[in-house]
Symmetry: D3
Subunit: 246 residues, 6 copies
């Protein structure tokens, strides 16, 4: 069930059978010559929607903007500061907790969000911990679809070393499976982009990674591959979500 497509009474009824929710979180940032700016939001959204429909899990609205400061030298990137994203997550979790949700599972599509989302969880729990909060336990977790076992094995099988670290053929494939109308045919040079660290500012990042790719060859991407990643992603995420609910 998608929260955006439900009524409040349907949410009220859902809360009677579960207090867990999946919140997709991504980013709006360059993904190389043939990858979509929305890749990191589209991928977890596609997985979450499929999972939610098949397994009666409520899926909240996608957080389309993430922490993408290092990509800002490429047109189209829109980044939140970490402090802003922390505030967004604090208000999001506060709203959900008010309704009685106790297990909030952020399904993430962007490595650059990981530190900030975990810092946000600590900010939220700190407020409770400083005040000797005596209310219900609140469980928060971040799950990265791209680290699921099935998906990792598939990427390794299909792309080997050409998977790389950003604008990977696996995420480009998955985003294309969700949006086949947006498939792009673009030549890459060199076939596999240089690798390196992304912990720097935007100007330095673009000097290191001139076309935006990091160690990948996304010309290997296809809609068909993407459909397999979607299936693997749903199974991986479902396993993680069930473990989280305990």
């Amino acid at each position: 069930m998608r929260l955006q497509l439900a009524t409040w009474q349907e949410v009220e009824a859902y809360l009677q059978r579960s207090t867990g929710i999946i919140m997709p979180i991504g980013s709006t940032e360059q993904h190389g010559p043939n990858g979509l700016v929305g890749t990191d939001a589209i991928c977890p959204e596609a997985i979450a929607w499929a999972l939610g429909e098949r397994h009666d899990v409520l899926v909240g609205p996608t957080q389309n903007l993430g922490m993408a400061q290092h990509h800002l030298a490429f047109p189209g990137t829109v980044s939140l500061r970490p402090s802003t994203l922390i505030a967004v997550l604090r208000d999001t979790v506060g709203s959900l907790a008010r309704h009685g949700f106790t297990h909030i599972f952020f399904l993430n599509g962007h490595g650059g969000n990981i530190a900030t989302v975990n810092a946000a969880f600590a900010e939220i729990q700190a407020e409770r911990s400083l005040g000797e909060h005596s209310g219900d336990e609140l469980q928060l977790t971040l799950y990265n679809w791209f680290t699921g076992r099935r998906g990792r094995e598939l990427a390794s099988e299909l792309f080997g070393d050409a998977e790389g670290g950003h604008a990977t053929p696996s995420e480009v494939s998955l985003s294309w499976a969700a949006h086949p109308e947006a498939v792009k045919a673009v030549a890459m040079s060199p076939p596999i982009a240089p690798g390196g660290s992304a912990q720097c500012d935007a100007r330095t990042f673009r000097q290191r990674f001139p076309d935006g790719r990091m160690g990948s060859d996304p010309s290997l991407a296809s809609v068909e591959h993407g459909q397999r990643f979607l299936q693997a992603g749903v199974e991986d995420a479902l396993e993680a979500y069930r473990a989280f609910l305990g």
Copy 2:
């Protein structure tokens, strides 16, 4: 063109022919017995996507969360504090301005966002005004799809006094046109909900408006009506956008 479905090079090329962009902004909040929680995000998104496709305007990712504190006593509502939304918009505009966008048109679906979005514009401009900023002019505007002339006339013709102020048949229709799979058949009692002011906290709001509607009868909504609102909304918004670009 949707930013989420473009590559950075496509954005770079777009910037050669236009420095304007449309950013849909909505809310995630209860919309009465048959309205979707995502109504206020779905409506401007649907209008923006149609407009963007037909008229070569770049459309950014939808801001799904808005200022909805007064709806928090209804399950499913997720609200940002005004200070959080101001930070989100400051970072969004800062990212876009860095790429050279000069005219940023927020296409809004939620009355509760208006004050905060305008405060955010002032926060952004204040930073420039205090520092004797000498860069390019930056134009920001908020346009509410539900105040467009064509849409207003259509609502008046179709629904008259049953349009009301929240969970209106026009917005419910438009959201259903975008998501026909989510149409709900729910009886309303009384047919037209009581009206009143929404400037209060969540507990008071729910006391005043027990099923979430404000002065409306959304049982009049239909997909067919929604298609007409979509068409009217695109024309209204296009007119406003062109006037904004000057």
Copy 3:
């Protein structure tokens, strides 16, 4: 009764007979060639003081600084950022609510404050709504003296199209009635200033409105007119305040 001229015991006694208060809020910003920098604070202050004295309503200290970033290219303008003004209002309301005030009526003299003050109200209520606040209802409203019916009719009768949007003859008149020692005789050219939008940064604003006026001819202002605006303003505001108290 003016709070600034009362003792705490007098306030304690007032709270026995009323939990409402009027808080004047203005701005410190240029008002064209013959308008006072303090116009927007002086006008609501004058109305509030007269109303408070005649009708036993407590009137708090005037908030002299408002959101005036667009006027910063004119010497003498002092602006708060929206985020700062929100913090000021949050602390002001928090202090008053602690004493038992339940109805806080901000009597405003500056259009540029409207969005930010309403965002501040939402920020304050959000804190209550997120926390399932179970205390007393807290009512906050913003009333703009310059939108009162009697005042609008008087401006229309006296000035017609020369009223304009900023540095209007009506507000200049009222400020002069409060401070006749500060009347200025200055020639205007052109008689009626150009109109336009104020939603921009300070540099752009000054380019659009070279002498600071927007669409007005304040050379029509006079102390005598101001006395009539004061009387109309008191009646308009009293009506609004009584409706607010319910």
Copy 4:
């Protein structure tokens, strides 16, 4: 010259002959059984207005709210948090500096503001110091009218040990000289209130100081004494202001 009663062109002309300005800052807080809630704002305002008129110094609008958290258990007190007051002063100074003011003299009426105002000055200068600011020197100072030599001597001569630390006969006198219509005749018991520290929360403060006075007997106050404090205060402040301008 009062900024609130000047036009922007008059400010522009003033800046040709001086880049100094006096900003009165006070508080809105209980001042015992016969002292006005606005005492701490009224006193520096009265001194600043007299000084400004006699000596051609520009005087900005009064900051009526200060840091008065410890007085919040007495009705009528309105306090800003220190962080809020810092933001107010940052924006105030930023606005004035933009116009070319280089020497900003805060004329203070409230001991409780001293730490926060000095912290605000450091916050403002830190922004410049961290960034290797290369612009004009910006001089900020805080002057407390109640520590001037002439005023101290007068208080000692008139009241001796009955002067005390809060709700003093000297400040009550001065506020009455500015507002003779607000003189109150109230019996005090005991004649001289107990002394002690104000560094605590509001509940503790009221326990320590049941009627709000700290070590003072303000029944000794009079309008006539107040006129002498006004004269002494103007001379003290003028001396300090001239030394500040160097």
Copy 5:
């Protein structure tokens, strides 16, 4: 060279031969029955001081407080909120960058700091990336002493499965080597504490981990072991620091 024990001229001279600096960062939090509250600060400080002395690297003052919200149900824990720690690191890095430091190496002793410190780095770089910063490259990295190869191997060899995740025998040993006067002899029951996740609030954490240990048996700690961890830690950190300087 320790910054705290140097003069500013010595720092000036150091900057001629290197623009790198090591900043120890820890936490103040419970470490089980025989571990010191300061363990996480003492360990990186001891390694940094030894490294700095032997290899002419400047070592800044230790950040003693970290993000330890989950330990707050144990007396003695002092935690910063993530947002506070981000502000501390922003100011620290801003100060160092102003002096010309280009490579700032945070030597960390606390797993709970990792997300927040990386979020802080992103906050700092975002400010540069949003503004098209054209200054020198600024390199920031976080190195956790407890993940160094030599140290890991030593812990494995000495403690095997009894190393655990918090209040480990390796960190307790190292802190004792730095402070032999603080060695404690305390019986543990059970010998190896239960394991689990620390991503929760303080009350939940204490329920999960009643004596504060996570999966460890720190009764195996000794000063002698600690001396070996110090030596291994210096070699591991030096290798990482040199790689960071490139």
Copy 6:
């Protein structure tokens, strides 16, 4: 007892016999040609450690960074903004209060911290005062070691006018007594540095005080003198701490 060297059970036991704690707070800033960058942290830390050991008082971790913006033009200075230091102190006090500490005594080594620390105390108490906090009384105080009677007399006796205001021979002596390995022999010219105000930005400060000293001759410093200042400082601070506990 030093908190950093205690276990949580030892802290728990301490709280049975006392709810007071001493928190050393300093700064990291230039101290002239022969003074250590860490002087302002080292001095209160040395006094606190000696006091704590001799008199069974718990001493928390040293806050090494303070408000030192005016020293930022000298290499090695690391400053927190006042707003950052306020947040650090708010979290520190919040953590300690949660454990039951009621009397928190900040032992300070830096004049530049005074305003900000007092503003922080007000920020903390304001949160309690606005909310009608009904918990235990929380006492906070700032004590500056360099204003103790015994220390003042000793400085006067040993150094007379050469004591000055910053980089004084007394603080340099005390820091050397704590770290004899860091004694520096540096010639000073002129012997006594010029005096003046430190309330300015960093660039201005360095113009006024070219070698960093303010009115002092720290060539008079010695380890022996420092040992006497340590003894005097412990006695002064103990007296103040006992008075604070009441």
